[in-house]
């Protein structure tokens, strides 16, 4: 997987490049907006990660140029501007995801993975299946090993989010934003409480649990082999 990183903060970029390469990605880095745009238009990248505030040509302008030129490569915006309005403007401009600095490196990895997968897989499925857990998206029915599981609509949304990203690490922030549309950090253990309730419903009595906690970053739904 080939990632273009546009970031003028050289030191921050150096650590990002190393981390991403360690995680198995190929990374090209440029430090200016114009150069970034030129490279993005010329090369074939699977993902573009751009800082929002760049001298001369900022990140949002780059996205507008790319989209204007018909390029659909997913773009992840990194930004020091973190108010709710900033995020909304960033996403409105055509960014696929928006991450406020400073962020945990695991958060960045989880989001990159999500963007790459989303781009690869179609959204037209009507059934999700992980091991013996099945989700009928049309009838909103969930079964585990053929036995029906009774879930509230809120729990169904959470489970759908996890199943669509089966095998990927999903962070708390991704859940807050993606499932509940909350673009700020609550003080309470909101996410953990909801996950633990879902876990109760899905994994109770099973010797092969599907929902796992990833220490320090979030959760993952997968079949452990």
């Amino acid at each position: 997987m080939h990632i273009l990183l546009i970031e003028d903060d050289i030191e921050a970029a150096r650590f990002l490049i190393k981390g991403l390469r360690d995680s198995g990605y190929t990374v090209d880095h440029v430090a200016s907006g114009q150069e970034g745009l030129a490279r993005a238009l010329a090369g074939r990248f699977d993902l573009i990660v751009t800082d929002r505030m760049l001298p001369h040509l900022d990140g949002l302008a780059i996205i507008r140029h790319l989209r204007g030129a018909g390029l659909t490569t997913p773009v992840l915006v990194l930004s020091a501007l973190g108010t709710v309005d900033d995020r909304i403007r960033g996403l409105k401009a055509g960014g696929d995801d928006y991450l406020t600095k400073p962020f945990a490196f695991d958060e960045l990895l989880a989001r990159i993975e999500a963007l790459l997968r989303r781009h690869a897989s179609g959204a037209g499925t009507t059934r999700l299946k992980v091991a013996d857990l099945e989700f009928d998206l049309l009838e909103r029915r969930v079964t585990r090993g053929g036995r029906e599981i009774d879930l509230t609509s809120r729990e169904l949304r959470l489970l759908e989010f996890l199943m669509r990203r089966a095998g990927q690490v999903v962070t708390r922030t991704m859940l807050l934003e993606g499932v509940w549309d909350l673009h700020f950090d609550p003080q309470s253990n909101l996410v953990d409480v909801h996950i633990s309730r879902l876990r109760q419903a899905v994994d109770r009595g099973s010797d092969r649990p599907l929902i796992h906690t990833v220490r320090g970053s979030g959760y993952v739904l997968r079949e452990e082999s």
């Binding site: 990002l16 505030m53 003080q187 909101l190």
Partner: protein
């Protein structure tokens, strides 16, 4: 577009002005027509009186020249020529017995006191019964006889009634015309001023790009629009500058924090890291994250307090949002043994930023969750009041002393002694978000417990 009706046309200055205008027109028309009427009336009366006087003079003259027989003759001649058109003559003895004339009985009780006495007479012409008002003049002849000359006034009275009716119609019509014109005028005025008001409301709601329409008429409304637009240009420019300054401050604070965090992340990713190094780095990382959260809250408060208008304002269904958040936090409360319930009027909307409103409710709910003991109750309410919208978060926890409650609305006021995590900023952020939405924040004694009340102005859509 808001209709001028929507704002109660009857309460507008334009409407009051046009009502005053209608009143003045009515007064002017009334005075004109009324004085014309009175003037005409007095001219007609004057003419009648003059004729009566002349007739009396002429008959008196006959008496002087030919005595009573001359007067009687003359009366009969005149009755023949003028009787049909309403002339009334009578010669009566000193005790008012009829001697000659076309009136059968002396119409008065003795000699009348008035100069122009009036009386009624039953049909002068035979075969037609009708009552006629007669205006008369009476004179005493030197021999003690009484001479009466009168004129049938029914024709004049009919004219004056027609005139009265015409006057009333004229006044009625001019009131109607003035009222319609005034109404149209006030409607137009209200609509143009309504445009100004509406634009100002939109701008206050954050749509800074809006400008007043300038028609090509170069009238006083255009002059007003141009001036207001100038002010708006300045305001937009200032907001942009403020935003840019704010952005660079946020950047300058976050960039070093970001580098620090990235470096620590890199250390943690080193293979074979000793626990003696990993643990302090991990706990430092937690502090960085806490610092970052406090910074985010501070920046949000500072932005809200800076006076920059809200961006991305939409109509938010506050009932739905509150109910959603209650449902979301209910399991958290249950896990702590607390009860969280919602009590919301359906479909209550406010103009604002959905995320910030969600954050406001979340902060209040989490604050209550933190302070209310196990088995405590928390209720989130949304009510439509007659002049606004009220959001309440009430609990039966330990409450808050009055001194702290009154301080709570102030920016950056730290309420309650809590350790770390910027928790004390929670209510300051609530106050800032409330202010951004022009809402009033009050903390009340719930007896027992705390009730936080946020009063939003009624949404005008």
């Amino acid at each position: 577009m808001r209709k001028p009706w929507g704002r109660d046309l009857f309460h507008t200055t334009a409407f009051r002005m046009s009502m005053g205008y209608t009143f003045l027109v009515t007064l002017a028309v009334g005075v004109t027509l009324g004085s014309t009427y009175l003037l005409t009336q007095s001219i007609i009366q004057g003419n009648t009186d003059l004729i009566i006087d002349t007739e009396l003079d002429s008959l008196e003259n006959q008496y002087v020249r030919r005595g009573i027989p001359g007067v009687t003759d003359e009366i009969n001649v005149r009755i023949d020529s003028w009787g049909r058109i309403g002339a009334v003559y009578m010669l009566a003895g000193p005790s008012f017995t009829r001697l000659a004339g076309n009136v059968t009985n002396w119409p008065f009780d003795g000699a009348p006191a008035e100069r122009w006495p009036e009386f009624r007479i039953e049909s002068i012409e035979p075969g037609q019964r009708s009552v006629h008002p007669v205006r008369a003049g009476v004179r005493r002849l030197p021999n003690g006889d009484w001479l009466l000359v009168g004129t049938d006034m029914s024709q004049d009275r009919r004219y004056s009634r027609i005139f009265q009716i015409a006057t009333l119609w004229g006044m009625g019509l001019s009131i109607a015309v003035a009222a319609v014109a005034g109404f149209a005028f006030s409607f137009r005025l209200t609509r143009r001023l309504g445009d100004v008001t509406e634009t100002c409301v939109r701008i206050m709601a954050g749509e800074l790009g809006h400008r007043l329409p300038v028609g090509g008429a170069s009238d006083e409304f255009d002059a007003l629009a141009v001036s207001v637009n100038h002010v708006l240009d300045r305001l937009e420019e200032q907001t942009r500058t403020l935003r840019a300054t704010f952005d660079s401050v946020a950047h300058d604070l976050r960039a070093p924090l970001h580098r620090l965090r990235t470096r620590m992340d890199a250390v943690l990713r080193l293979p074979g890291l000793e626990p003696g190094i990993r643990e302090p780095v991990e706990s430092s990382l937690k502090e960085v994250d806490r610092l970052q959260r406090t910074l985010a809250t501070l920046l949000q408060i500072a932005l809200a307090e800076s006076g920059a208008p809200l961006a991305s304002v939409v109509s938010v269904d506050l009932s739905e949002l509150a109910a959603e958040l209650v449902e979301l936090f209910e399991p958290v409360a249950r896990e702590r043994g607390q009860t969280l319930t919602g009590n919301t009027d359906p479909g209550v909307g406010v103009l604002g930023n959905r995320q910030l409103l969600a954050q406001l409710i979340t902060n209040l709910v989490e604050n209550a969750l933190k302070y209310v003991p196990a088995d405590g109750r928390i209720e989130v309410g949304v009510r439509r009041l007659h002049d606004g919208i009220r959001l309440t978060v009430s609990d039966n926890g330990p409450g808050m002393p009055l001194e702290e409650r009154s301080r709570a609305g102030q920016p950056f006021a730290r309420i309650g002694q809590r350790e770390g995590s910027g928790g004390g900023l929670g209510l300051s952020l609530v106050a800032a978000i409330a202010r951004l939405h022009r809402a009033q924040l009050t903390l009340e004694n719930n007896d027992p417990g705390l009730r936080v009340v946020v009063d939003f102005p009624a949404a005008r859509t």
